[in-house]
Chain length 342, copies 2
């Protein structure tokens, strides 16, 4: 299925905005940030431009345009949210001990934990600076303040989600509701803030802004639920990841959280034993996990939740004052997030 145009059409402006935000400083700190963003290798040699998918800034610019604003006015907020998202990735990699991200060594793995912490901190701070805009592209003060507040609150939620996520690693008794609360914070908050900020910059109409926020919340949930499904049942030739990747990594994503809540007796014991063990997963382990998922209907549950979330997202859009074209694009996004295979 094709990537909706909204995810790609703002890319040149976003890339330029990000480059402007990272100044030309030759300090080694900024080299680490440019490396993380894929602009240069670890020795400082420029790479073919690759700023990642930059989904959040695109959604922010789209939301501004959809509610009747000039999308370019939301650029400071769009750049800010992408930098904040990348701050969370740099620190996440430290916390999860991940040595690679998108087939490249992570910042801490190349430069050590201390510099990794600094690089994340710097990305966070540059995100806040970007919101103030360069002098020519600054938002009106009240708007900048509103957007800053939305982004900062979303950031606080994101960290709360990260803390919950870390605590889940130690626990067996996570319930689906706990899990959904965690992802609404850890992934959902920034995605929702993208829509919320964009709308708040594009219009002063409070109901429109709040419906866009709600739309964003549902899309954030939908994104993560689908991500969790692909992590278990995705096709490796499309996702680019190994089959049942999240089971091999023993990631406590939605399918296993659901199964742990609903499996009984020997099935539950087996599932717990597999997820507690630290030795590499055997073929037998994997097939047992998938069998238990099938017994308790975890795939069906995830599909149903995704479908309901998609419907809920569309209900928020129906009632917003917005051009038909913009509404159609919202529906396209929802459909893409519901059906994507990668």
């Amino acid at each position: 299925m094709e990537l909706p145009d909204v995810f790609t059409r703002y890319r040149p402006a976003i890339t330029q905005g990000l480059r402007d935000a990272l100044t030309d400083s030759e300090l080694p700190l900024y080299g680490m940030l440019r490396y993380h963003l894929g602009w240069q290798d670890e020795h400082g040699k420029p790479l073919e431009a690759n700023s990642g998918k930059a989904v959040r800034p695109a959604l922010c610019l789209f939301a501004c345009e959809a509610v009747g604003g000039q999308w370019s006015t939301a650029l400071p907020a769009a750049v800010a949210i992408e930098l904040i998202h990348n701050f969370s990735l740099v620190h996440d990699d430290i916390q999860d001990g991940d040595t690679h991200r998108r087939h490249r060594a992570t910042v801490w793995y190349l430069w050590g934990h201390s510099h990794g912490v600094n690089a994340g901190d710097a990305m966070n701070i540059l995100g806040n600076l970007a919101m103030f805009g360069s002098d020519g592209a600054a938002l009106p003060p009240q708007t900048a303040l509103t957007a800053s507040r939305i982004l900062t609150k979303a950031c606080a939620d994101m960290i709360e989600g990260q803390v919950l996520d870390l605590s889940f690693e130690q626990r067996a008794n996570i319930r689906v509701d706990d899990y959904l609360l965690m992802i609404s914070k850890k992934t959902g908050a920034l995605l929702a803030a993208s829509f919320h900020m964009g709308a708040a910059i594009g219009t002063h109409e409070a109901r429109t802004t709040s419906e866009m926020l709600e739309f964003g919340k549902e899309l954030g949930l939908l994104f993560q639920v689908r991500d969790d499904m692909l992590g278990v049942w995705g096709k490796p030739e499309v996702t680019g990841k190994s089959a049942a990747n999240d089971i091999h990594r023993r990631k406590k994503s939605l399918p296993v959280v659901h199964a742990l809540e609903h499996a009984k007796g020997a099935s539950r014991d087996r599932l717990l034993a597999i997820y507690k063990s630290e030795s590499p997963l055997t073929e037998k382990d994997l097939s047992d996990v998938l069998t238990i998922f099938a017994e308790v209907g975890s795939a069906r549950y995830c599909e149903e939740l995704a479908r309901q979330t998609a419907e809920a997202s569309l209900r928020h859009i129906e009632s917003v004052e917005m051009s038909l074209a913009a509404k159609r694009e919202c529906a396209e996004m929802t459909r893409f997030l519901l059906e994507r295979e990668y």
Copy 2:
């Protein structure tokens, strides 16, 4: 020598502002933050209020009042800067591997590196949120934005300073000028921002604000130079730290940076060997270091630099439109920082 009144008189308001900023959330994340600030023990049991010295917020409120503003209007900025300062402490402790701070176990040492990173991130974000103020105490939008920009730029400087500091640990050839640049960023930026924000909130007069910023820069330098002197020659019974603490820790502070730049031949080789070694310092090592410091006049150099910095700070104050009482308090601060024994 007595602590100037300016450092204590705003404390009740600062403490209250900090408590308001940390919400009543029962999430474990906020427990770590309250622990770090000394409000509760690691199990959540409240402690006698102890919010640390809170120097930066006091300077911010003072600056606002000194230039003719109502000090209480600067409270959001004062609370923000104290939280940002504490964010840097939490991450610093991780980077330096420090297990204790002011005789209490550090956050990462109690809860692990991952939670330590999160706790610092959260403190940073709450600092930004505090700037927006609770609804009753919010700054006018343009002022809030100006203050936010000052604080965020100072934060970026602080991280740059931290990166420089880490890189110095690996190097023998740090020159005094490199060192002074590093501390102007790592310690100086936030101290200067305290004065800068306070003044910018208290007056719209650009020259006054800029002189207060310069005053703050000099005080930040003076603070650190004196700190470095006390770390080598301070009296343990007054500082509360062991004698020659910074030499034992092999901290590359101003006296040794100066000595490494000026010592020659065998003295320099000996100094380098002692600072490169990883075994505990012997009595002989310590006395050799102090002898070399004396040979090249490191103490005299530090004293002279502190004196000149104090004079420079006062020149900025002379020309500011400010009450005589406020000018007198500035001079008191300078004198205190120049002469303090702890």
